[in-house]
């Protein structure tokens, strides 16, 4: 049976000594000997974040590559059907895995969303710097939801286009008050100041991401869609 220990060990062989590997797996506890098919998404995130730190610490080179291979090995065997809805017509990036939908209702959900975004970014192989950017953007969007709409959702989807470029899509949706056109003008001009935030959250997100789309209707709600592309 393919356990986490066996599969990851095979990837790390030659890079990290077996003694060091032993101690790394010890830190994973029972997860190390769990068959890969039985891992939940949360397990994979835990394993990856734990392994990421260790690999960066002990591997002399290619740590990002190693982490990407580990992420692949962990998800490839997970029995989940790969790829999104088929036959959606080849245009645009295809959804790699099932999107992760996170409810945002209170301040503590902001931290959760940020962590989830981070581990998702690392899982799909984005660089450490890019992962911090992803987490920061999600933090801004989740904060906007809590502060201005009360509740909403943040959805994370990994993307792949025909050339195999990996990216991450973030969709933040709420049914809040929406942003009136006049206020929107002020926001983009950088002159808007809110009471709680700095009125700079949306501007910051727009600067951080590769693609940004805002759809807001007063009285209906707001949807922000943005995409991070992986650095090659």
């Amino acid at each position: 049976m393919k356990t986490v220990e066996k599969e990851v060990g095979a990837i790390l062989a030659g890079t990290i000594s077996s003694i060091t590997q032993r101690s790394i797996f010890n830190r994973l506890g029972g997860l190390a000997t769990t068959p890969i098919q039985q891992l939940t998404a949360a397990d994979r995130a835990t394993i990856l974040s734990e392994l990421e730190n260790s690999v960066r610490l002990f591997a002399r080179s290619n740590s990002s590559q190693l982490i990407a291979s580990i992420a692949k090995a962990l998800s490839a065997e997970s029995g989940a059907s790969p790829g999104g809805a088929g036959g959606a017509g080849g245009a645009g990036p295809a959804v790699l895995a099932a999107p992760k939908k996170l409810p945002i209702e209170q301040e503590k959900d902001i931290a959760t969303a940020r962590l989830e975004a981070w581990s998702e970014a690392v899982r799909i192989g984005l660089s450490k710097f890019a992962s911090v950017k992803v987490a920061t953007a999600v933090s801004e969007l989740a904060r906007n939801i809590v502060f201005y709409a009360g509740k909403g959702t943040v959805e994370l989807r990994s993307l792949k286009d025909d050339r195999g470029v990996v990216g991450l899509q973030i969709v933040a949706t709420d049914q809040g008050p929406g942003i009136p056109a006049a206020k929107l003008d002020e926001i983009w001009a950088g002159t808007y100041k809110s009471q709680r935030g700095m009125g700079k959250g949306l501007v910051a997100v727009k600067k951080l991401v590769d693609e940004f789309q805002l759809d807001t209707r007063p009285g209906v709600g707001t949807t922000v869609t943005c995409i991070f592309r992986g650095e090659r």
């Binding site: 503590k108 710097f129 911090v132 920061t136 933090s139 709680r196 700095m198 700079k200 910051a204 600067k207």
Partner: protein, 117 residues
Amino acid sequence: MEQELPIIQIRNCLLVSIQTELHDRLALDLQASLMERVRTVNARGVILDVSAVEVIDSYITRILNDIGKSVRFMGAECYIVGIRPAVAMTLIEMGVELDSVHTALNLDLALERLELL
């Protein structure tokens, strides 16, 4: 759940290590208790260690700037230490400024500079 960040005094400086999520209530409490402590101990400086903070967004930046301003109104100076490289680069890309506080690489350097003030 009642939560309060511990404020440590080192000579005539106050040190806070930020290890948890800075939400509204906590940030306001911290600001108030820092100002009170600056007054009672005649602190020359306040040092906020953010080396454990993995993500700083525009909201946290505003909180840090607000604390910096209020400390400055009291006649002391505020240092932010331990900003991670990826965090610094993200702040630059976002175009937000940490202009009401000083920054130093670590606690030692911040203390050294506050001594010279």
